[in-house]
Amino acid sequence: MTLLVLAAVSVVLTLLGFFVSVPAFKRLTILGLSLGLLALFATWGRPEAFGPYQVDGVSRVFTLLALLGALWTVGLVRTRRFEFYLLVLYAATGMHLLASTKHLVLMLVALEALSLPLYALATWRRGAGLEAALKYFLLGALAAAFFLYGTALFYGATGSLLAGTPGEGPLYALAVGLLLVGLGFKVALAPFHFWTPDVYQGSPTPVVLFMATGVKAAAFAALLRVVAPASLEALPLLIALSVLLGNLAALSQKEAKRLLAYSSIAHAGYMALALYTGNAQALGFYLLTYVLATGLAFAVLSEVSPDQVPLESLKGLFHKDPLLGLGLFVAALSLLGLPPLAGFWGKYLVFTEAARAGQWGLLVLALLTSAVSAYYYLGLALAVFQKGEAMAAPRPLARSVAFLVALFLLLLGLFPGSLLPALAAG
């Protein structure tokens, strides 16, 4: 149902784009994405299946996050070419497909359907982002090749193309490892993170918002299906590298987007902790808080400047514009995981999963690096209160959305139990 709606809207809008004005097209895209959300909610809690396309709880929650990210991106962007909105719509459709299948070949097709539009979106402002986008494209193509190799070997090892088929032996481990490389690249797990800082810094900020929210959600849904059932020896190494590298490299960053890029690597590591027990509820909740917080941070940054945002230029944001300043403050604290905010419960749930799996070493490492991350998150959060000459574009709607999201993060932190059953019902 959701797939039908999204695909139909994509096709219709592709044709309509030539006949309507760009602002009208933007509204139509928002309408289309909202229709997708509506279809998602209308079938909430009821499994659907068509061949290898299977919508279950995991797929619903993660699609919801991807669609929210897409909506936010479309809402924030003003551009002269309608293709931008169309590409976001395509990518959102790909994300839904990726989150709703166990079939590895379909996963690969969906992975490409979400990546190709993103490669083009990353180059949207010519010049500055071109080099980063080329890097993203080349490494992304390589990752897709790894995924394809993994798919072929998986079939050889198990005789089935459905992720989660049990298997054994070196070939099986190799196959799942290659699949993990392909997906790990998309979620920016170290050591497959090399593209992240450059691309986050060079791409337009709303596109980065989409990468950090939608792509992460969809790829983690796939990881949950592929990696969680096959306990891998390489996973602890990836997690340890991600949380260490992400947090330590972020300490010395002077530019907000680059800082958040490293923070996104670290968060990918924390999320991967939930892969041990394969608890979709914990991972879904963590992703929800992460998507809202990081989306909020990037939304504020895109109001400050469409380009790079040195930390210096954030100073005085609170005095210039209290809502935006407060939004960034709440976002940074939620990313850090400070108790009254939703990010705390996300981390709590994920760390509990790691404890349940008996990964005490990783748990200690994650706690320590979380403490380290306080340094740069607080630097980001407190910069808005310092004296300075921050500038911000006056856009009331974007502002009220930022305020609502900040409020939601606070409420979710105070009453986390109110949403968990709905996520579990999915």
Binding site: A7, E83, L87, L97, A113, L171, A173
Partner: protein
Amino acid sequence: MSPWEALALLLLLATGLLVVTLRNAIHAALALIANFLVLAGVYVALDARFLGFIQIIVYAGAIVVLFLFVIMLLFAAQGEVGFDPLVRSKPLAALLSLGVAGVLLSGLLGLKLAFSQDLQGGLPQALGPLLYGDWLLVLLAVGFLLMAATVVAVALVQPSRPLDALRPEERKEEVLR
């Protein structure tokens, strides 16, 4: 290993090596065609005849021709590349590919496939019902992917504004870009 298999292995390895070591890009592309042709022969021998023909038509036919076009456009019709864009990366690349080969080999050695499918000679008659039966959704998804890829390609080459709205000097820049 039968003599034919050994011959195919040798040819594949030799042409593959030629592709990465030849200095003239056109010669390298020709070696790639030879590699694809041998691979097509392997497919046919494995009872995947349709795949073998596709390999020849799509890869040897279309994709290498695309390579040749790009080579001719980039190097002004001279295949002589003459420079190494990634200096001193060759030993590292060789080491990496040997490593990958080793890992794959160790995974594949002693593998017993517990399943087999009747390929019926690997002709389209056997593939068609599968493609439009079990794999229908994947086929549709590929169609969607191709549509998205088309729009992506158009969006990538488009100027930031319609060409007739640009000033002359901007237009020149867009064309050169």
